[in-house]
Amino acid sequence: MTAANGKHRFAMYWAASCGGCDIAVLNLHEAILDFAERFDIVFWPAVMDAKYRDVEAMPDGSIDLTLVSGSIRNAENAEIVRLLRRKSAILVAFGSCATEGCIPGLANLGTTAGLLDVVFDGPGTDNPDHLRPASRVAVPEGELHLPAMEPLVRTLDQVVEVDYRMPGCPPESERIAEVVGLLTAALDGKAGLPPRGSVVGAGHSTVCDECQRDRSAKRISEFRRIQQLPALDPGLCLLEQGLPCNGSATRDGCGAKCPLAGAPCIGCYGPADGVVEFGARLLSAFASVVDASEPEEIDRILDGLPDPVGQFYRFSLAGSLLRGARAARTATATRESAP
């Protein structure tokens, strides 16, 4: 539904997110002006004041385009994304947090309690009574309410249905421009919408496709960190130089900025189409080209990857099979077998 002024209604919300995605949108520079031309910004906590009740007041489906960044960490996140889902025609999971869980998702490696201990009793925290945030706290003035933390960090699509996914930490501004352009065109009826559920603002292959470095058949006899390299070969594939570069399994679209700059890809654009488990693809690829046949030798080489989970699951843990909410559900599902 389009506003009287002919503009489309736009919303953007940050759940558990660093705000980088919002900045990436603002990074459209001049283009943001055209954007303002085409859209009425009805809700965007990062850039303008807004009240949830205003959103609640809107008719369902009245927001044409909503971008949600951030993963679902607490009750508020969950509540608001459900609200926005109701109010929005098109809901885009925007950026790595929303699509895969990203850094906040790493919290799923531990327990909520453990997490709180680190924050509220960790070094440099003076908390003699070992207080913890609680969703309801009685104070003289009355009862205070705080959004409760959820037991697991979840990706947006684990909570509400998502129309499109746009990967990246954050998504590249050029891609944002493309996507906004594309969707605007569609909203204007000048173009068709991309198939629902598809990934937008990214390619269909992997970063290697965009990376210009020279590659040959791979055999890795040692994993090293960049500072351990005598000298970085400017032209040669980073993985072949022993740097654990995630480019081979990471969806393209970023323009391979990191590897081309000599920094190994960390995988923020997530897996390519149809991949079951991002981490599995990475570890399988790395292991396959380890240049050793004897267990001892293999171990020696693998010791070069001190934190495999960090290497392979940095962005995708919350969406992963073993540490994702989906896994938890599947695991419990298989138990519903009482005679």
């Binding site: 309690a113 959004p147 695991a331």
Partner: protein, 167 residues
């Protein structure tokens, strides 16, 4: 011996990936020779242990397997010459990842069995089932988050504890 129906309250589910040329035939041989092993072991046939995609193992655990076994030809006896070596490399790295994800090392094992070693394969299955039985179910409970979610439907925000909060 855990071949006889076990009195233990918990009977694990063990998923074993087999190689079409060695361990799968060893399993056939165990059958033909009526060698017994626990029914909690279930087999999936691959052409080679080198086909074992780590995602299969993760999926198995996520779908309720209490342990996963990679079986294949003895080193240097691979039907595809050297492909079981690649399987070994992946096994080692995946094993590290699983341990870091909080899964006991015994829950992911590898067993070599030539086509002639039905007896040995059955023995290995029996041993592994015993080990896993004593470990208990794959403890999603060790991650209270997941446990909690499994109790509360995902869309109901649940409340963390209030210990140490005065008043």
């Amino acid at each position: 011996m855990s071949i006889a129906p076990s009195t233990s309250p918990f009977e694990p589910v063990v998923l074993a990936f087999t190689c079409n040329w060695c361990s799968y035939r060893a399993a056939d041989l165990a059958g033909t020779a009526r060698i017994k092993y626990p029914p909690s072991v279930r087999l999936i046939r691959l052409m080679c242990s080198g086909r074992l995609d780590p995602a299969f193992v993760l999926r198995a655990f996520a779908s309720g397997a209490d342990a996963v076994v990679m079986t294949g030809c003895w080193p240097a006896d691979c039907h595809y010459r050297i492909q079981n070596v690649k399987a070994l490399r992946r096994f080692e790295l995946l094993h590290r990842v699983l341990v870091d994800l909080g899964i006991e090392p015994e829950r992911f094992q590898r067993v070599y069995a030539s086509a002639a070693e039905g007896q040995q394969l059955a023995a290995a299955f029996t041993r592994i089932v015993d080990e896993v039985r004593s470990l208990g179910p794959l403890a999603w409970g060790r991650q209270p988050g997941i446990a909690a979610e499994s109790e509360a439907p995902a869309d109901e925000p649940s409340t963390p504890a209030l210990e140490g909060v005065p008043g």
